[in-house]
């Protein structure tokens, strides 16, 4: 069973439609027991880091997610879901994250001439060959909506970035059984559905 975690502040409708379109059978849940039973877990999200962690806490999902990660189950985070996998986040005060990925979530670099939030389509460049970005996948635009981003303490876990000229924004992370993207594949039209298709081919084996 592939569990999609519903923390009630995400764009869950869109996420579920995308999985349905690519033909991946998933189970939408907020129950800790389902997380424990799941073969693979998808953690989508729109919202603030503080409220996201608070919801995971209320639902009793923090420990089950950590156990699932250490048991080697595939976990895929989308946007806020990716950020929650970090050690800490700085949105509305510093808060502890799930701590699955080494790094912290910080505000996008403040430049007097740059608009924040970053809302729109950015060209995502793979930094290495990976499941989400195989060698033959062309550089394509994906849809981003965020003011914060994950700064991994181990740069090797990054698999794709957005080049901004000064500092890069981490677009995707793939680290052992964990993978996550800052953009919204469910809202990135063909590029996003193709990427979810590659993910499905991998996690589908666990279903």
């Amino acid at each position: 069973m592939i569990a999609v975690i519903d923390i009630n502040i995400s764009n869950i409708g869109s996420v579920m439609e995308a999985f349905q379109r690519i033909g991946l059978k998933t189970h939408l849940t907020s129950a800790a027991a389902d997380v424990a039973k799941a073969d693979a877990i998808i953690l989508p999200g729109v919202g603030s880091f503080r409220d996201g962690m608070a919801r995971l806490g209320e639902l009793g999902l923090v420990e089950p997610l950590r156990s699932a990660a250490s048991a080697g189950k595939p976990i895929f985070g989308i946007c806020l879901g990716m950020q929650l996998m970090a050690e800490t986040g700085e949105e509305f005060g510093t808060h502890k994250g799930l701590g699955l990925l080494p790094g912290s979530v910080v505000r996008l670099p403040e430049e007097p001439t740059v608009r924040i939030p970053n809302i729109g389509w950015c060209d995502v460049e793979p930094t290495r060959k990976s499941t989400l970005f195989p060698e033959d996948a062309p550089t394509r635009s994906f849809y981003f909506v965020h003011s914060y981003h994950l700064m991994p303490s181990d740069p090797k876990i990054t698999s794709a970035v957005v080049k901004t000229g000064k500092s890069d924004i981490v677009a995707a992370i793939e680290h052992k059984n964990l993978s996550a993207v800052q953009f919204h594949p469910e809202k990135s039209q063909d590029a996003g559905l193709d990427l979810l298709g590659r993910l499905a081919a991998k996690v589908g084996a666990f279903a």
């Binding site: 009630n8 502040i9 995400s10 764009n11 869950i12 409708g13 869109s14 439609e17 995308a18 349905q20 379109r21 690519i22 729109v46 919202g47 603030s48 503080r50 409220d51 806020l80 949105e91 509305f92 996008l108 430049e111 007097p112 001439t113 740059v114 608009r115 924040i116 939030p117 970053n118 809302i119 729109g120 389509w121 950015c122 060209d123 635009s141 849809y143 981003f144 909506v145 965020h146 003011s147 957005v162 080049k163 901004t164 000229g165 000064k166 924004i169 919204h184 469910e186 809202k187 990135s188 039209q189 063909d190 996003g192 559905l193």
Partner: protein, 709 residues
Amino acid sequence: MPAWICWGVWPPKWEHSLSMYARRDISRPRLIPCLLLKNGLIVRSNLFKTHQVIGNPMATIRRFSNWNVDELVLLDISDKDYHDLRRDDFPVSYRGTGILDVLREVAKVSFMPLTIGGRVRTLDDISLRLANGADKVAINAQAVHQPQFIVDGAERFGSQCIVVSIDALKKPDGSHEVYTDDGKTATGLDPAAWAREVEKLGAGEIFLNSIDRDGTAQGYDLELVRAVTSAVKIPVIACGGVGSYDDFATGITAGASAVAAANIFHFFEISYPLAKKACIDAGVPMRAVGLDSKWLHREPKYDVAAEDARLATRLEQAKKGDFPAARPEAAARRRVIRWCKKCVYPSLGAAPMEFDADGVCMGCRMSEAKRTIPPEEWEKRKAQLVKILETNKSKDGSRYDCVIAVSGGKDSYFQTHVIKNVLGYNPLLVTYDGNNWTPTGWHNLMRMSEAFGVDHIICRPSITTLKKLNRLGFTIMGDMNWHAHVGINTAPVRAAVQNKVPVVIWGEHGYMDLSGQFSMNDFPEMSYRQRLEHFGRGYEWTYMVGREGLTAGDMIPFQYPTDQEIYDLNLRGIYIGNYIYWEANDHTRAMIEMYDFKVNEEPFDRTYRRMSNLDDMHENGVHDYLKWIKFGYGRCTDHACKDIRSGQMGRGQAISLVEKYDPVKPRDIYRWLEYAGMTMEEFDSIADTFRDPRVWRWENGQWAKDSIR
């Protein structure tokens, strides 16, 4: 050309910003279609005041998804949670009656970012919209009434989710003011100052609309866009006033992160890809043009099992005489039907119709607007037509200059007269032959090649196939002429692509004329959406494959060219009525005089006019009788409305004609029954399953409805 075209490198280096003060985005500029929804239907809006129904949102949104659109904004301008899709014979409908029900359907075909606005007042409103498929919400009046709502929304859902929508009006002294409640209530706020305030409160984006540019096609209010974009650091979406694809780039240059428009995307074929191409050609580094999503094809896929079950239910109802409109529970759906105060058009019917606050229909309003166009404006319009023809004509005679879609009727004669004999071009006439000709109609058609000295090709589908399509059309959607409506809208376009002719000339835009669907400055052109939604009622040729043994090969005459073919040829289909003054009665007299055009010798059973629909005996006959069965009115109403608007008939006379003709069961039904192999009893009982419960009631053993008032 490949479907995906790559352009330039983005982002440019930060130090290359336009000026040290100009802010820019990490992401690419976006091009955003904005849909206005009113009671579940898309409307075209003008100055926030008049609304014309464009159609069912699903048809349009599927198109947008198929084109890999950057983002979509849906603004619900209904004043209460209620919708009515007007037609029960469409395969598209939603369960429930609210905007959330629409959203759930939209989400199924929308893999693009989706912002929804309209009556977002509580945190629960936001949460429900996100749960049902939206990614962001646009907040308008509630932000003004209760600024803390922005703070709370941003804290709970994140700033990126909170779009504040600002409607601004330019005042006579040149300053701008923010309005709420669809432009009705002044707030005393300055748009730039208000934008700065909402940014401070936590808004992540601003949707900026100009009230006085809405629907005017005069371009963005760039002064407003500059004032607001330079006041804030958050992205701004500019909207309001786009009249040509070139307007989009000006909004980006003025500082907007995204440019939006509503109306223009409804007017033209492959509008979004062409608009994007215009932006990219102007140097705006948008995402590439996308023509055909591999995950969501243009031709809808139908749930065959569900459709079979729906059809079986209908046939079962017909057999048992259990008609939905006659059931006691149908009373709850009954509606008070109103009629236009000037003409006799009903508020619920087959055509997309909207009434204004004075109870006058958009058909009358647009007809008045058309009649007040001065002759010098018509001269300009004619010059525009000549420009289109001149640009697209054959340079060396190796192909035709244009295709004219003809049925051999009065309008066909007039179109050919203008194009060939007035303007001097070399057209190819193309006709779809649905095998339903009246003798007079066939005579008129056959004479065109000689009367005008032009080449003429006729697309004539197999009669075996046509018989099947007649039966299927009738049982599936209560319209045996589905084949004709789709065929007529397909054959000329196929011929244009095959002969590499980039212009198809149509006559009058039917719904613009009948129900004022567009305004005179819109110049709407043919589109796949319109063909599928209005002519095909949402049933594409693919729906018929597998039924009565029909194969894809049998359906070739009904297969519309691909978007790529249309894009590569830069094919457009224009309506001559937008450029040349169009009055059916006057034209007919001229065509009789000049070309010996024949009107019907015998009167029709269902209308007093003798000059219309000679190409298809069922169009004015049994096909139209089904409109009466469904909606309680027919062709005589259509004709009387047009004649009232042109000043040739009074409303009293129209009412007595309508009451005489609309209920008549026409004699051509006998031909049809024999042709399709059906008994009168079968016909009547299937037809009665299509009665609209909003119009009809079962009273004392017979069908009853309200009369025109």
